[in-house]
């Protein structure tokens, strides 16, 4: 059974169809990349999978480990192992990063019938994960994303992922706007978490990320459809030729 299976997914915002029939299968242990021009619906796909109520699914299914998650609340999807790294992470005034992570970790554990996190052990785990993404300790006590630089916000998303250890991670342009050092750290975070138990869907605008995280498959998304899939070589071709070729095809 595939880890993620998307079948003929259509979604709309305010009556306007944005996803126009997406099919995608991702197995455990795999990393897939989705590339595409601005406005093609990449973030919409990520948010629909995460359960953002602002998007209406009009057709299709999204199965995670064989279970249709479209009927689940966002928190239930998270507890089933779905994680989305936001393209634009939200600031949460007054709620510290540690507090947030504890709330999230406990919610997930409760769902699995496990006892709440032990404060000491959790702190140890958090510290290890911070090292993995080389995040400054001061960001732990600060309110989530408040006053973080763009790079710190992206790093913080990877940090949350590393702490929560999801089964399926969807990272929406986590590489955008990062300098090469930050990009390496983010890639290192993802690569260390790669395992047979897990899958990654990397949404990216730039081929550069894929020099550091080698994907098993690359999909090109244009105007709400996946117009081409291939191996990592496709990303290199895209970088050279641009999306124009595909856009004409999609419009037809």
């Amino acid at each position: 059974m595939a880890l993620l299976e998307i079948r003929n997914l259509h979604a709309a915002v305010e009556g306007e169809e944005i996803l126009r029939g997406i099919d995608l299968t991702l197995d455990t242990g795999e990393v897939h990349a989705i590339m595409g021009p601005n406005g093609s619906g990449k973030s919409t796909l990520a948010k629909v999978i995460a359960g953002d109520a602002g998007y209406e699914v009009t057709q299709g299914e999204v199965l995670v480990d064989g279970v249709d998650i479209l009927e689940l609340e966002p928190e239930e999807r998270a507890r089933a192992g779905v994680f989305m790294g936001f393209q634009y992470p939200v600031e949460i005034p007054g709620v510290s990063n540690t507090y947030f992570l504890k709330a999230a970790a406990n919610a997930i554990r409760k769902h699995r019938g496990e006892p709440e996190v032990d404060a000491m052990q959790f702190l140890k785990h958090v510290r290890e994960r911070m090292e993995l993404v080389q995040m400054d300790e001061s960001l732990l006590k600060r309110p989530v994303n408040e006053g973080f630089s763009g790079g710190e916000k992206k790093r913080n998303e990877i940090f949350h992922m590393a702490v929560l250890e999801p089964r399926l991670a969807i990272l929406d342009e986590t590489d955008s706007g990062l300098d090469i050092d930050a990009l390496r750290t983010v890639a290192h975070g993802v690569n260390s978490l790669r395992s047979d138990e897990r899958g990654f869907l990397l949404i990216t605008h730039y081929q550069r990320l894929l020099n550091y995280i080698v994907p098993d498959k690359v999909h090109v998304m244009v105007q709400g459809r996946i117009v081409k899939s291939g191996d990592k070589q496709l990303a290199v071709e895209l970088e050279e030729s641009g999306y124009a070729l595909f856009e004409e095809g999609a419009a037809a």
Binding site: D52, E75, Y99, F100, A107, H111, P143
Partner: protein
């Protein structure tokens, strides 16, 4: 108009009927003047600017009278009498000073506390110099009534240079035994030069009792004094609280004020701060937490009369169900009050579409070399933040609870008395969605 005329005469009759022969002449003069002021204007209609958003009908149409004797405290009330750790406690039950439960005898050095009646007997004392000489300058119906009718209260004096460690905790309890009872507590706090102290004033009442508490607290901070003042109001669900805190500060004096409205059918506090000497500073912060059916109101008048003074006001409201709140804050900067630094902020969080918050910042600036800022918002929880939390596994209730708690808790952070802060935090938690989860995370 009939009704208003009738009410005037009701309180005037009460006033005239009472035997005041034992009171000193100076006090009689002030009382008479106050009664006349009330008679001249009556209760404010909604045409009066400062009262236009306050629903008073259930107060003005009732005749509230002082209790003859204090009622009995239920065990739940009894357990809440002492909140502030290691405090000098003074207790009023149904508006009557309870000498048994109060600790007027064991006072630390530099602190003098007397009942209003005792203080009135002293010639040329602090009461004669200050009582009803500051607050009564305001055109305010409930200050006038309090001055005319109050027989219960305390006068607190902190001596020059004194810094008593123990805070003073004034507790006002209204019991369930009483219907239409009025409580008119009068408190005068006098901080002499370079004194430093903290006063906590708490109000609570039994649910179901329709009473009126209309306290007036006058604070006089002489030069270089440092005063901490905390007000906490959790009246019963039918209780009305119309209170006034009036502070007058001399040069270099500092007032740190914190107020929390956590319950009551109608709760309004009018905060006046007169910065009369150069270099003084006022820091006020307030929080109002409303459940369905409640009304809360903060009116503030911060008046910069002298140069180099600073004032900061931060008020936040959390409104649930069908509730209504008012924040109305004036910053007045007189022509000579150069180098004033004044700030005001009011933020409201509506948890329900039926909640209504009014926010009226007002600036009157006559000096030219000043720094004044104000901000005011009324909004809902940030849905993007709710989704962000949920997408990481936190339930919707908990997400809303966490965000609401974070919004309001910021106002408790400046509370320097840990026992009071914990108590206030409990009140905040008990009013939140997802309470249990939020509590665990603290």
């Amino acid at each position: 108009m009939e009704a208003v005329a009738e009410q005037k005469s009701v309180y005037l009759q009460d006033f005239q009927r009472r035997d005041r022969s034992a009171e000193p002449a100076w006090w009689e003069t002030r009382r008479e003047a106050a009664m006349q002021r009330f008679e001249a204007n009556g209760f404010p209609t909604r045409k009066v600017e400062a009262w236009k958003q306050t629903r008073l009908a259930h107060v003005t149409q009732e005749h509230f009278q002082p209790a003859h004797s204090p009622g009995t405290l239920g065990s739940e009330m009894h357990n809440r009498l002492a909140v502030v750790e290691d405090a000098v406690r003074i207790v009023f039950v149904d508006g009557i000073l309870d000498t048994e439960r109060s600790e007027l005898e064991r006072l630390p050095d530099g602190l003098r506390v007397r009942s209003l009646a005792d203080a009135l007997g002293e010639e040329g004392g602090v009461a004669e110099s200050h009582l009803a000489r500051h607050a009564d300058a305001e055109a305010h119906p409930f200050i006038a009534l309090n001055t005319a009718l109050s027989t219960q209260g305390v006068v607190i004096e902190v001596g020059s240079g004194a810094a008593p460690q123990q805070p003073i905790e004034l507790v006002h309890v209204m019991t369930a035994d009483t219907g239409s009872v009025a409580s008119w507590p009068r408190v005068l706090i006098h901080g002499a030069t370079s004194s430093e102290f903290t006063v906590v004033q708490r109000y609570m009442g039994a649910d179901g009792a329709a009473y009126l508490t209309a306290p007036v607290t006058e604070i006089i901070g002489e030069a270089n004094s440092h005063i901490g003042f905390y007000q906490y109001v959790e009246e019963g669900d039918q209780g009305a609280h119309l209170g006034v805190i009036h502070a007058t500060l001399d040069r270099d004096a500092q007032l740190t004020g914190h107020a929390l409205h956590a319950g009551g059918r109608t709760v309004r506090t009018d905060l006046y701060a007169n910065l009369d000497g150069p270099g003084c500073s006022v820091n006020l912060n307030g929080l109002y937490l409303l459940k369905s059916g409640e009304f809360a109101d903060f009116h503030t008048w911060t008046r910069h009369h002298a140069d180099h003074c600073t004032s900061q006001q931060r008020f936040k409201g959390v409104l649930d169900g069908k509730s209504e709140a008012v924040f109305d804050g004036l910053i007045h900067v007189a022509r000579d009050a150069q180098k004033t630094d004044a700030e005001q902020e009011n933020r409201n969080l509506l948890l329900s579409p039926k909640a209504l918050a009014h926010s009226n910042p007002r600036l009157e600036i006559y000096a030219d070399d000043v720094k004044c800022g104000h901000g005011s918002t009324v909004g809902q929880l940030d849905e993007a933040a709710v989704f962000y939390l949920r997408s990481r596994g936190v339930s919707e209730d908990e997400a809303r609870g966490i965000l609401t708690f974070a919004f309001a808790n910021e106002m408790l952070e400046p509370v320097s008395l840990p026992s009071l802060r914990d108590y206030e935090r409990e009140a905040l938690l008990s009013l939140l969605p997802g309470e249990e989860a939020v509590r665990k995370l603290l």
